[in-house]
Symmetry: C2
Subunit: 402 residues, 2 copies
């Protein structure tokens, strides 16, 4: 067998795969998987759509489609994004095979080995894996409760020449926070005139728990009067189902043009079969009622995990109070190692994802990501107690030493 | 906007996209598209499958799945491939988002800029695009009526150190031919002990027109007693529908292991929604009757285009007589330029793909690919006449000059 390519030397290990396995093991209470709830998919709606679909549409569903996407879905999605204030007339939209593919395409389009990419710290493991595969030099910028740390970002912008800044402003994975409107505005001002692409990953946009939170979900791209080069990525995974493998990217015509050629070479087109169905789902007005339903469900789970954390976690542990999305991000004292806590928690029957998984440098490990999206509500309390008991164990001896 | 990456400088232009547009234009008779027939998809069977599917399976269809693939489909496909003599116990199977993704993953796994890849000349445009994107140095080996030219391959193997040899032994795209069993055997002997991966693209395996042709479709990987490192890629696009975006790769555990990590970073998993359906389609025994039906249909179209070619084409034009698949490959006299013929044919109402599109060096242009798969049977005769009339025009003056 010939030697593997350089790329392969730089991709992450099987970390994600191992996580996925743990997350789906039946014997543990899992706070690990970042997926929608199995029991909340709009199965009846989709059944009805398929039943009523006419034969010509079905033929289209079976066939190859344009690389850009199924034209009626592009149209429907454009109107949907227009309502969010996104620049759908000056920019071009492409349907991708999941939003991860959008990150991949942008990586292939811009990153040469050694190029600098800025991400938040912590950041989405899938995004980090892509940038590592393209052998980027990833620089993590600390994430705060209201968004990325702008002082450190400014300082690093003077130090490096990054091609991309990758952010997840809404219901952050894993951070469980949301950018303030002020920080969005200031970020645009800071990036104005800089030769950098802002990659805005908005996969969780719709999953707000209140009108106040909804007001905060304004895409940065919709506020961009500064002429910053922004690529906006979204996903059907959280509003319909990850099994559809559908996402999108909205980009300037220059970036779009090359992106389309890249996608043509990657998988020719996204699945027409699921695109035709997704379009009917939106066109027939099923999306909004469905979103209202799942927002309530995820909010309920979020409140349950908050009560459990308050009940069981030692006093010196902090965590985010999500206003939407799937995640709570716990901050443990600096000396604690979440890998050790994970191991013991698994033995006791609960699993989560360790902090360093989301650290671009794969080091900082005194955090825990708890996902409450895809679990039995009745298990939340029990699972949090298991983890809190282990955390307490690791805290006590330290206090005794003082 | 920052500079594009080196990769982008090396990817092909929008050639494929432009082709696709022409191929689907309603006003011309199209021999261009390499897609299955729109009117032959198993729509009723799939409707029935979805109608009868139980709720638990549907939940799975909406959710993320393992990167390797939906386990029941992996199982079903393994048994299907076992019957073809493929080494499913010693090798590992992965479901890919179309078989093009398998080529992509292998490219990312092994090709560094400047690495040599051997392909047949002509070869599949999607494969060529992938190898170019990874900045491979592509060396084309002439394709003959019974397979790749082994003398030239041997000579080039002494000259270069290729990482991959990419071949399409069954019902070649664009060549319209099939490898003899003898040539498959000799190819294995030639590659024995060489440090090269044979990438066997078998997307058209099932589309034989006779029992004699079926006998020839034996995968090279199933004959491999020589220990050659083979990666076998297949597709649901021709046996179910390209809109499902499902293919597969069968590879040694070493190659598989890295491939899975790469796929995890590309799109996490292939669409579960279509995998669940594809599995039922095979498991319930719908595949074989469906294949029998489409084999007859494509054979009929193939015979019709043969008669039309015999009726209209000038005597000094040669073409392949396909024993399966979608394509006829025409060889024009060396001095002819198929791009000129294409332009005039389009003006007269018929479109095809020019020879140089499939030439790894993008030069040799005295060939024409005619695809008869996705067209109205009644238009075959008329379309061939249009093209033949243009060809004749370009021949006559040359003869007059002699």
């Amino acid at each position: 067998m010939p030697f593997f390519s350089n790329t392969v030397q730089h991709i992450r290990s099987s970390e994600i795969r191992d996580l996925m396995k743990l997350a789906t093991s039946p014997n543990v209470i899992s706070f690990a998987g970042g997926m929608p709830n199995n029991n909340l998919f709009p199965i009846d709606e989709i059944d009805e759509i398929i039943l009523k679909m006419d034969k010509e549409k079905k033929k289209t569903a079976f066939q190859y489609g344009p690389t850009q996407g199924y034209p009626p879905l592009l149209h429907t999605l454009k109107e949907y994004l227009r309502k969010k204030g996104l620049p759908v007339d000056t920019h071009k939209l492409m349907i991708t095979t999941g939003s991860l593919q959008a990150i991949n395409i942008l990586g292939m389009e811009f990153i040469d080995p050694g190029d600098v990419v800025f991400t938040e710290n912590p950041s989405f493991i899938g995004g980090l894996a892509v940038f590592k595969a393209f052998q980027a030099n990833i620089v993590g910028i600390p994430l705060e409760n209201d968004g990325i740390n702008l002082e450190i970002l400014e300082q690093k912008l003077n130090e490096y020449n990054p091609k991309i800044l990758y952010v997840i402003p809404n219901f952050h994975n894993p951070g469980g926070m949301i950018y303030s409107l002020e920080k969005r505005q200031k970020l645009l001002e800071l990036l104005k005139g800089k030769n950098i692409i802002l990659l805005e990953d908005d996969a969780y946009n719709e999953l707000y728990f209140s009108e106040e939170a909804k007001r905060l979900t304004k895409p940065i791209m919709s506020m961009n009067t500064q002429g910053v080069e922004i690529v906006y990525a979204g996903s059907f995974s959280k509003i319909l189902g990850p099994g559809f493998r559908l996402g999108w990217m909205l980009a300037s015509p220059e970036i779009y043009e090359k992106a389309e050629i890249i996608k043509q070479g990657i998988d020719a087109c996204s699945p027409n079969f699921t695109q035709v169905i997704a379009n009917e789902f939106m066109e027939k007005g099923y999306l909004e009622p469905y979103l209202n339903k799942i927002r309530k469900e995820y909010k309920q789970r979020s409140l349950m995990i908050q009560s459990a954390l308050e009940k069981y976690m030692p006093k010196n542990i902090k965590w985010t109070k999500p206003q939407g999305g799937f995640y709570v991000w716990l901050q443990l004292p600096e000396y604690m190692d979440s890998t050790k806590i994970l191991k013991e928690s698994i033995d006791n029957g609960a699993v989560f994802v360790t902090g360093k998984t989301f650290d671009p440098e794969n080091i900082k490990n005194n955090n825990i990501r708890l996902s409450y999206s895809n679990m039995d509500k009745n298990q939340i309390d029990k699972g949090v107690k298991i983890i809190a008991d282990v955390v307490r164990e690791y805290i006590v001896p330290k206090i005794n030493l003082v």
